[in-house]
Symmetry: C2
Subunit: 93 residues, 2 copies
């Protein structure tokens, strides 16, 4: 994963609502309507956030009838975590 890519993912995670969404998806796949119940934003705003998270590859989704189901793209997220973890400081990892 390149530095540019990491910067893009960091930007996606630089909004508290989106960070919360990622943490919610930690518990497993969720549909948009469920996420919407928990967040204090309108539906179009949620749709925008999900697009940002999807565009950077952090979140995957599929459509099931009228529901859109979202989940963390584990491979991508693990790559990101590995990059961050590898930035050493004070001799610690």
């Amino acid at each position: 994963m390149t530095r540019e890519e990491v910067a893009v993912i960091c930007k996606a995670m630089s909004d508290a609502n989106r960070l919360r969404i990622i943490e919610m998806l930690t518990q497993g796949e969720k549909c948009g309507c469920h996420l919407l119940e928990e967040l204090q934003v309108t539906q179009p705003t949620l749709s925008h956030h999900m697009k940002v998270l999807s565009d950077c590859g952090l979140v995957s989704s599929y459509k099931d009838g009228k529901w859109q189901h979202y989940s963390i793209n584990c491979e991508k997220f693990k790559e990101y975590k590995a990059y961050i973890a590898a930035i050493t400081c004070c001799g610690n990892r």
Copy 2:
């Protein structure tokens, strides 16, 4: 560390130049003029980036004569890394 605080740090790391700066500081303390040599930005732009990194607590600095020396604030950075590492996905940590 709160989610809000993590979001702020993510925002600070969401610029490729700043991410590069952090990686450079990994090798140890550096003065502004040294950082400036490696980056394709003007001095005021570097000064701005260092302020962003300092304001969120990720970078510490002290003045030594005319030089400003910067280094990673290890405690803060480790807190951030721990928060990110704790976001589970696919049952992996």
